[in-house]
């Protein structure tokens, strides 16, 4: 008797869930249709030249490459700890600050106006300084804000992360003030070249190529090295990993080092791209990168790369294609996120999580 009642209730609940799912999907489809209609009637009607679209797309790829570096940090930490490191944007911002101070230092030394090799060397050292600044921040965060909460329910470290994010932002505000620091580009980075009608700035090329190289390096570390394999083992099963003789805490620290290093490089590159950095410079890019990671499937490394490049492209092309002001580009990014998640709740490349596993 009870069992029939229970099963009929669960049947009704399931029916309702199915109906809701179809309503949501329907809304998603309507949203998608509106977007397409808008693109066809407004964006294409504007008849920009092809070169315009290409250069917008190139901008998008550059921004996407930087987002990818930051998104990888979210995804790596999530893969290991099942936690969103909401302070990751600030880890990047502090890298950008360290970078700008290194830039001022080398400018004072006269390296930035020296011969080309000297400038290149200085730029590399600036990137290294940014990465180091981020690594110190990331490792400290793990030790102080996350490790003591390792056994706590999942919501607790999340709140700690949000707290850490605010703490870092306002500490930087307190120490360095509201006025932004300027990333003065050396003459070497100014300018660019033309391919047909398309102007390609040097900074864009350098940022994109460096992002790709760093992503490749990360991929090789995770797939080929002993510590990378240990990272994947720890991500799957911490207890069994410890039985293998793997020091799980050390692997977690290594994960924070990798993700912070990528964020630091991204911070310096974003600094040269935007030319300024201030206390809240990490917040919006951090949010975008997080979006990109979710879009690609959080915890999935190729997913973070694909999601970020896609997000960069959409943000760059979207406003013109939809015929809306550039200030509203964030709406497009988040609308795309919502639409993708309606149809693929675990992201573009995310694994479909079974009920049991979830």
């Amino acid at each position: 008797m009870t069992s029939t009642i229970r099963s009929s209730t669960s049947y009704r609940v399931r029916r309702q869930a199915a109906t809701t799912r179809w309503v949501v999907r329907g809304l998603g489809l309507i949203g998608l249709a509106l977007l397409v209609w808008r693109v066809v009637t407004v964006g294409l009607a504007e008849s920009y030249p092809l070169s315009f679209w290409i250069s917008q797309a190139l901008n998008g790829l550059v921004l996407g490459g930087v987002y990818a570096l930051v998104a990888l940090g979210y995804t790596l930490v999530y893969g290991i700890l099942l936690m969103i490191n909401f302070a990751h944007g600030e880890v990047m911002m502090i890298g950008a600050f360290t970078g700008v101070f290194a830039l001022q230092f080398f400018t004072a030394l006269g390296w930035m106006s020296g011969p080309t090799t000297m400038v290149v060397l200085a730029l590399l050292l600036i990137a290294a300084a940014g990465m180091l600044g981020s690594i110190v921040t990331g490792v400290t965060l793990e030790r102080v804000a996350y490790r003591p909460l390792r056994g706590a329910p999942r919501l607790v470290p999340l709140i700690s992360a949000i707290g850490a994010s605010l703490f870092l932002q306002y500490s930087v505000l307190l120490v360095f003030g509201v006025s932004p620091r300027t990333y003065t580009r050396p003459p070497l980075l100014e300018g660019g070249f033309r391919v047909g009608d398309v102007f390609v700035p040097y900074t864009g090329v350098i940022i994109f190529v460096l992002s790709l190289l760093l992503m490749l390096a990360l991929y090789l570390i995770v797939q080929r090295t002993k510590l990378g394999k240990a990272m994947r083992a720890v991500a799957e099963d911490k207890g069994t990993a410890a039985l293998m003789g793997i020091d799980v805490d050390r692997v977690i620290v290594f994960t924070f080092i990798l993700s912070a290093a990528l964020a630091g490089a991204a911070g310096v590159m974003l600094g040269f791209h935007n030319t300024v950095v201030k206390f809240n410079s990490g917040f919006v890019p951090g949010l975008k990168a997080f979006t990109a990671a979710v879009l690609g499937g959080i915890g999935n490394i190729p997913g973070a790369m694909v999601g970020a490049l896609l997000l960069g492209l959409i943000e760059a092309i979207g406003p013109s294609a939809l015929g809306i002001p550039t200030e509203y580009k964030d709406i497009i990014a988040f609308s795309v996120l919502v639409i993708v998640l309606i149809f693929r709740p675990s992201g573009l490349l995310g694994e479909v999580v079974s009920e049991k596993k979830a």
Partner: protein, 234 residues
């Protein structure tokens, strides 16, 4: 080689091990049998450091190890094939085996042991580049045991190697366990399948609700009326 002296382990407030004492001598196969929930797996997890005893001592070759974290205990030469196999499903078979040797840095030795494990389990050689999660239950059991051997342990802890396997496969696995022992590895074997376990072990301990209730040479335990009635179906 291994001595457990009056070990008490808790899960929060649940008193899971109530003063377990046992010894394993070098070269032996010792089996720990008992019904579901008797505390066999808890005993193994306490030895390997995944659980910390609240009272009692664990000595490996006379040195206390109960305060050490799990990864350091592995480095001292105790290796575990855990209950339910716990294969890294997204790592390849080869990577799983490499993880077993994580604590070692002697490349030549690792290669040698990899060859030895693949000789012991030829099925794993065929599956070397497949993901662990795609293996069958029997193959996963072989991988779990092979992985545990990759650290070149002095003492191998095996938790329910027969679980969920067909009788023919169980026989095969136990033959391999005997081979491993003959190669000089001391074995502590936890089993619900008391009959097979007692057939290969030198000595046996019987556990009930967190305590050892019977101990002795495997043949004697096998003959005891108590065990015959409780675990061997009369």
């Amino acid at each position: 080689m291994l001595v457990l002296d009056q070990i008490h382990t808790y899960y929060d407030r649940i008193h899971a091990l109530k003063g377990v004492s046992l010894t394993v001598e070098r070269g032996e196969i010792v089996t720990l049998i008992g019904s579901n929930g008797a505390g066999k797996t808890t005993t193994l997890r306490t030895i390997s450091g995944l659980l910390k005893p609240r009272a009692g001592n664990i000595l490996l070759e006379g040195a206390p190890i109960d305060e050490l974290p799990a990864h350091e205990i592995t480095r001292l030469g105790i290796s575990q094939s855990p209950e339910g196999r716990r294969i890294f499903a997204r790592l390849t078979v080869e990577e799983n085996l490499e993880m077993g040797a994580f604590a070692r840095s002697d490349k030549a030795g690792i290669r040698q042991d990899m060859a030895r494990v693949l000789e012991l389990f030829p099925r794993l050689r065929e599956r070397l580049h497949q993901r662990g999660g795609t293996l069958s239950g029997g193959e996963q059991q072989m991988l779990a045991m092979g992985r545990a051997l990759m650290s070149r342990p002095r003492l191998l802890l095996l938790d329910e190697p027969s679980m969920g396997l067909a009788p023919l496969l169980v026989e095969q696995i136990f033959q391999i366990i005997r081979n491993i022992n003959e190669q000089g590895v001391t074995i502590l074997l936890v089993e619900q399948n008391a009959h097979v376990a007692l057939s290969i072990a030198h000595r046996a301990y019987v556990m009930e609700t967190g305590a050892i209730v019977l101990a002795g040479p495997a043949a004697d335990v096998l003959a005891s009326p108590q065990v015959r009635e409780a675990y061997l179906g009369g």
